[in-house]
Structures are given as structure tokens and as C-alpha cells.
Amino acid sequence: MPQLEASPTLDFRSEAYKDAYSRINAIVIEGELEANDNYKKLAEHLSEHKDELIKLARMEKRHMKGFQACGKNLDVTPDMDFAKKFFAQLHDNFKLARDEGKVVTCLLIQSLIIETFAIAAYNIYIPVADDFARKITEGVVKDEYMHLNFGEEWLKANFEMAKAELEEANRQNLPLVWKMLNQVAEDAAVMGMEKDALVEDFMITYGEALSNIGFTSREVMRLSAQGLAMA
């Protein structure tokens, strides 16, 4: 039986680590900012949940500030241009859906895909993070499960109406996630995070959310793997 190799020690101050961190940290900051914006927009469409959504939006803003502090702690300037481009397609898809009044698609993109992406990344990051970032990320990940829960609950309550649109939105947006993961796989590896672990964590959390909403196991397997083989 082969033995588990000890994880290589990470040098958080090395140029290679800081270079990778400048992009990953920027993505996280941009992701939280996008989320803040998206929840504010959703509050306009779901007026009965306005207060809750505004509260979630504020939470995302706090997370963003926490992650900015993580970058400062390592003397890293986040590459925000990279991050903006990284989110551009998901951002555009969210905007288009919002303009067309497609709340279900908006919720899938923000509350399921972006939240799950964040949860997976934070879960895999925590064991290999520096002490400062670990504490901040541990706090954030607890909140993110609540955000995921908001989308889940709404979509569950409206499942019959939402099902077809969810499938279509999944088909359009999930392949973007695999592309995004591929784009940062090398940087993530420098920071001690393996791509297959990220993909797996994403599929588990995303699959659980789809299952809670009302999809059958068979549908969950199909939906959560959509486009992965082509990525």
C-alpha cells in the first residue's frame, strides 16, 4: 500500500506564491463584489425577500473586505483586471437574465454556481492557507452556506415552475465554471490546491443543492457533470 506523502511546505512569502496569490485573491475579491451587486439586483426583483437579500449583499461586502486584508497581509496587490475578465461571461449572463426578468437563471448563477464555486474553493483552501487567511476564510465559508441556502429554498418552493429554466441555465453556465477552473488550475496548484479536489468539492455541494431543490439523483448526476468532459 503506498504511503501518503507529506504535503510540501508552502512559502507564503515567495515570489511564486505571491504571484499566484495576486490572481486568486483578486478573483475572490471580485467574486464577493459581484455577489454583493447580484444580491442587490435580485432584491429589486424579489421584493418579498428584499430585506434578506440586502442583508446577504452586505455580508458579501464584508467578505470582500476580509479578503482584501488577506492580500495586504502578504503584501500582494490583487490583479483586478484579470479577475474582471475572469468573471466577464458569468457577469454578462447574469445581466442578460436580469434584463429579461429571468429570476430563476439569476438565482442559479449567483446562489448556486457562484456560491458553490466559492464554497469549494474556500474548503480546499482552508487546510493550505496562511494562518491569517485561514481564520478569515473559515468565517466566510459558514456564511456562504447560508447564501446557498437562500437560493435553494426559493428554487425548492418554486421547483415546478423553475425546473425547465434551471436545466437550460445549467446548460449555459456550468461549462463556464469548468473553463474558469482550468484557467486558475496552475495558480491554485502553486497554492497547494489540486484541481480534481476543487472539481469534486464543487460537484458535491452543487449536487446536494440540486437534490435539495427537487431534482432526482439521476438528474443531479447529469446536471452536475454537464460540460465537464469537454472542458
Binding site: L4, E5, V141, I204, G207
Partner: protein, 340 residues
């Protein structure tokens, strides 16, 4: 509710099963994909005891493949097991058996140190390796099948390959103290563990596999090997009973030779049909009735409402526990497989 955590024997097997179950997204993918694949509940099971009691269970496919060990994707392998356990617990399963490599990976990589999986605290009392029942069934297979092949255990030399493992050591304990075999040959890699085992059971000869095979009347195979091995049948005694309890099998599947009787070890037959699909997939000869004894252990624990990690840790299997699970096995209608 009981649960079973299982895995398939190799990548090709996994791909063919994904095809058969109608999951094209999984069917054509290579090892990288399986390293990322999440655990899935792929079967709902209903089991009726001969007492009339009915229980329900779930089969959790961990998506682990032995190739992950062979290609040193150790982290992926350990994630598969922990994620499958978390999945079982999240789905409210009271007692789940860790089948095949699952318990070996758990033990070998000390996964008991990792209690938290995402937002879930694992409760290890909800899991069992199933090894006590497996060891019991293998011993019964030896005791019941040997005479039919003209082997008198009181005069027999029995080799145990993988003797120091959890199942192997329990088998050695039973064969030395309950079955009255004439001689035990202890085969394993770790000398210190072999010496400890020999001292504990008070008999047995430590020996290499090649030296053991020509003198053994019975060989029990319970080593953890990602792939089966080839042996030269001409060097083996006739008759010889081989009980292969490995998963994947320790012996190459094409192995066949006159006078050498190979029995699938650690397999039980239930007296009544079980409503499931999964044993068809793992190529049981009678899929509605035959199953791994470790899986049957979680069923027995559910029947008896012993919701506890009955088999846990390494080398903790006592003869009392083997007798206790054995009695439950008989009571609910399970029998050791005796046909090859």
C-alpha cells in the same frame, strides 16, 4: 436504514457500469474524471430476513478506483472515502459498511484524524468495516468446503496470505482456536506484525508465499492488492482449496486448474431474494442472493438494531464478536457461499 459504501474493481469496469446504468457523462471518462467524481447513491435496497423482518438500505458508490492507489493519486483516494462517508451520514443512514478498499484506506491513511468534512462532523459510530462478518464467513467457508474436497482440517496445512491484516488476523485466530487446523502458514510483508501475530495465537509458521504454496492444503487469500496475481498451478498441491477473499480478487480471474478448487471468499448467500441491482454490477453469479459479507454485516446490525461501529480499528476482532455476528447471520438467513 443501513448503507453500503462500495467501489468498482477497475476503470474499465467503472466505465461499463456507467454505461449500463445510463450515465453517459461518466461512461467514457478516464481516471482524471473519476478522481473528481462525487459519491452517489445509486441503489435503494430492501432486504427481508427469514424471521420476516424487513429493512431498507442505500448503496453509495464512492467513485474510488484501485488505479488511484496504483498511480499514487492517494489524496483523491482518501477524499473518495471521506466524501462517501459524509454522503451516507447526510442521507440519514444509521449504519454503513465500508466495502472493499474503503476500510483499508480509512485505516491505512489514518482518516479517523479527519473528522470534519465540509460542513459536517463525521460520526464514526455510524460506520463498520464489516470485517468481523467477513472473517467469520471465510472461516466457515474453509470449515465447510474443505471436507468436500477430501481435505481433513485436523491434518491440513492452511496458508493465510495477508495474515496480519484485520481480516487475516481474525481468520488466523479462529482457525487456530476453533477449527483445529494442523498447521498455519502466516504470509505477510511486515515481520514485526507477523511475529506479534504468531505470539498472540501461539502457533503458525512465518513463511514467504512461494514457499507456502507447494505445501498448503488450503490457502486463504485476504491481502489488499489493487490487482490479482498469477500463480503457477503446477507447483500447488492437489487437492487444494483456495478461498479468495480479496476485492478485487487476489487471484487472476482466469485461474483454473484441475484439483484446485477456488471459492469466492467472504461472500454470503441470502435465503430470500434481495431487491437491488448492484450485485449484478459487481458480477455476482446469483445477484439477487449473493453479496459481500461486509455488506451483510451492516444489514445484520440494522436487523438487530446494533447501531454501532461493530467492526472498527485494526486487529480488534475477537472470537466472541465473530460468534455473535455469526449467530445473527444464521438467524436472518445468510449462508457462506460454498459453490465455486
Amino acid at each position: 436504514m443501513f448503507g453500503l459504501i462500495g467501489h468498482l474493481t477497475n476503470l474499465e469496469h467503472a466505465q461499463s457500469v456507467a454505461h449500463a446504468l445510463g450515465y453517459p457523462e461518466y461512461a467514457d471518462q478516464g481516471l482524471d474524471f473519476w478522481c473528481s467524481a462525487p459519491p452517489q447513491i445509486v441503489d435503494d435496497i430492501k432486504v427481508t430476513s427469514v424471521t420476516g423482518q424487513v429493512i431498507e438500505g442505500r448503496y453509495v458508490e464512492s467513485c474510488f478506483l484501485p488505479e488511484m492507489l496504483a498511480s499514487r493519486r492517494i489524496k483523491a483516494a482518501t477524499r473518495k472515502i471521506l466524501n462517501a462517508m459524509a454522503h451516507a451520514q447526510k442521507n440519514g443512514i444509521s449504519i454503513t459498511a465500508l466495502g472493499g478498499f474503503s476500510s483499508i484506506i480509512f485505516e491505512n491513511f489514518k482518516l479517523d484524524q479527519i473528522k470534519r468534512v465540509r460542513n459536517l462532523e463525521l460520526d464514526f459510530s455510524r460506520f463498520t468495516t464489516g470485517n468481523t462478518h467477513t472473517a467469520y464467513v471465510i472461516c466457515k467457508q474453509v470449515e465447510d468446503a474443505a471436507p468436500g474436497h477430501g481435505i481433513d482440517l485436523a491434518q491440513a496445512t492452511v496458508a493465510v496470505c495477508g495474515a496480519t491484516g484485520d481480516i487475516g488476523s481474525a481468520v488466523c485466530r479462529w482457525l487456530s482456536q476453533k477449527s483445529g487446523v494442523k498447521e498455519l502458514l502466516l504470509i505477510a510483508r511486515n515481520q514485526e506484525r507477523l511475529n506479534n501475530l504468531k505470539n498472540e495465537i501461539g502457533m503458525g509458521r512465518i513463511i514467504g508465499l512461494e514457499d507456502a504454496l507447494p505445501i498448503a492444503d488450503v490457502v486463504v487469500w485476504v491481502a489488499s492488492m489493487p490487482k490479482g496475481i498469477n500463480i503457477d498451478p503446477s507447483t500447488i498441491k492437489q487437492p487444494c482449496l483456495m478461498v479468495d477473499g480479496g476485492y478485487p480478487k487476489n487471484l487472476d480471474s482466469k485461474f483454473s486448474y484441475p484439483g484446485i478448487h477456488v471459492l469466492k471468499g467472504g461472500i454470503v448467500e441470502h435465503s430470500l431474494d434481495i431487491d437491488w441491482r448492484i450485485m449484478d454490477i459487481v458480477a455476482m453469479d446469483v445477484p439477487a442472493r449473493q453479496l459481500f459479507a461486509c455488506f451483510a454485516e451492516s444489514m445484520l446490525l440494522e436487523f438487530e438494531k446494533w447501531h454501532t461501529n461493530f467492526s472498527w480499528g485494526r486487529n480488534q476482532i475477537t472470537l466472541d464478536k465473530m460468534e455473535k455476528i455469526g449467530a445473527a447471520s444464521v438467524k436472518h438467513g445468510f449462508r457462506p457461499l460454498l459453490t465455486s
